[in-house]
């Protein structure tokens, strides 16, 4: 495959945009990168997915490098990631027994409903409560042995404590997100963020930052498979990943300072976009 100078710049721009969006709402950016590589650049789907998976790892690393704000709860993230990877293995095992288009249509409807619920929802902070004493700005804490923590919101300046609710139900959704990754070739961030916010009761910023941490690990599990099977073109991936690394840092900074309302609206718009993509694919109108 040959690639021109202007195409390299366009790939860099794609990575920048996907990195900002992916780190801002915790979805990784794959839902933007894969369709763009297919529809705008005309890449083969497997090559596009391999590039996207490395880019999602890049978004996760960029966002993780800025976690001094303590928004990402790594204990919650890894606990859910354990079942997500198991779901990915299960999804791979049953991939031939389930019609992906039917599953995609069902998921599209589910995401559409979730987007509407997000738009109608209040801008509160899940099950979190305001507290008066957190050490200082940009410091946070997490409880040993528990799925909870505290942080100071960069937008309002308010210190917030939270604790995970309904962990089994959220774990089941994370398992499903992992299975869908194997079945449909999509990431799981767009399922994990609403699940952690609406089911687990985490503040939206904590859910998004924790998801950013998780999606890198989820993508990693699939990335090695695509590389081993010969679908990885490093020269094509490089501009996208460079863009994502730079954009991801900006997205993570924006996330800390944004109001929950803005994050909620952006996430709802992304979910609606993914829902339309999945429904079009189910109807055979998109690749």
């Amino acid at each position: 495959m040959t690639v021109t100078g202007p195409e390299m710049l366009a790939l860099l721009g794609l990575g920048l945009g996907a990195g900002v969006l992916g780190a801002l709402v915790g979805i990784g950016g794959g839902v933007v990168i894969v369709p763009a590589l297919l529809l705008v650049f005309g890449f083969d789907v497997r090559i596009a997915v391999a590039i996207s998976l490395l880019a999602v790892v890049g978004t996760s690393v960029a966002a993780g490098s800025l976690n001094q704000t303590g928004l990402a709860n790594l204990r919650i993230g890894l606990s859910l990631e354990l079942v997500t990877i198991l779901g990915g293995i299960a999804g791979g095992l049953v991939a031939t027994a389930i019609a992906p288009h039917l599953l995609g249509a069902a998921l599209g409807v589910l995401l559409g409903v979730t987007a509407v619920l997000l738009l109608r929802g209040r801008d509160g902070e899940g099950q979190a409560t305001e507290i008066e004493d957190v050490p200082s700005e940009d410091e946070a804490s997490q409880e040993i042995g528990h799925l909870g923590g505290t942080y100071r919101d960069g937008h309002s300046g308010v210190a917030i404590a939270y604790e995970a609710e309904r962990v089994p139900a959220t774990s089941a959704i994370a398992f499903g997100a992992g299975a869908l990754s194997g079945l449909l070739g999509v990431g799981g961030g767009f399922l994990k963020v609403p699940a952690m916010n609406m089911v687990m009761g985490l503040p939206l910023k904590v859910a998004a930052a924790t998801s950013s941490f998780m999606v890198g690990i989820t993508a990693l599990a699939s990335l090695f498979i695509y590389i081993a099977r010969g679908y990885f073109y490093p020269y094509l991936a490089a501009p996208v990943v460079v863009g994502v690394l730079v954009g991801g840092i900006s997205g993570a900074r924006l996330q800390h300072r944004s109001s929950p309302r803005v994050l909620r609206l952006v996430l709802a718009a992304v979910l609606a976009l993914v829902a339309v993509q999945l429904l079009l694919r189910a109807m055979g109108l998109a690749s």
Binding site: M1, T2, V3, G5, M8, I47, L54, V57, G58, V61, A62, G64, S65, N67, Q68, G70, L74, R75, L78, L82, I85, G88, I89, I131, D133, V134, P135, E139, A140, S141, Q142, E143, I144, G145, H146, G148, G149, T150, A161, E163, G216, I217, L220, A221, S222, L223, F224, I225, I227, A228, G230, F232, Y233, P234, Y235, A238, V241, V242, L245, V246
Partner: protein, 122 residues
């Protein structure tokens, strides 16, 4: 602030920048800087040399004679290994904090990732 869980027991809080998390964050920063530098250098070398993009596996790090391709592959490998190193550092940090429950979770994630890489590579 002494917070209590639902059963009323006091919960021990640790700052997010405690042991495991602090090392994990530096690993992420290091991985980001090194991979970014390698990807930029590799792209520049490949762009100057010209020629089509080719599919490559990590084994080409040894076999390839093109310095641009080697830099690109090494950059991708460093980036891919960064989250694994991060989880490994969390495992060690949480074990040192005697947070064994989550240390076991981290060990489980690492084992599953290695299993996936082995199965995928096969």
């Amino acid at each position: 602030v002494i917070r209590q869980d639902r059963s009323g027991r006091a919960m021990a809080a640790v700052p997010v920048d405690g042991d495991g998390e602090r090392v994990a964050q530096w690993i992420m920063r290091g991985g980001l800087v090194v991979s970014l530098a390698l990807l930029l250098a590799g792209t520049a070398i490949r762009a100057l040399a010209g020629g089509p993009a080719e599919a490559m596996r990590f084994t080409a790090l040894v076999g390839s004679s093109d310095p641009g391709d080697r830099a690109l592959l090494l950059g991708a490998l460093v980036l891919a290994l960064t989250p694994m190193a991060q989880v490994a550092s969390l495992l060690i940090g949480w074990a040192r904090e005697r947070d064994y429950r989550f240390a076991i979770v981290a060990a489980g994630v690492i084992m599953l990732l290695i299993l996936g890489a082995v199965l995928g590579g096969g």
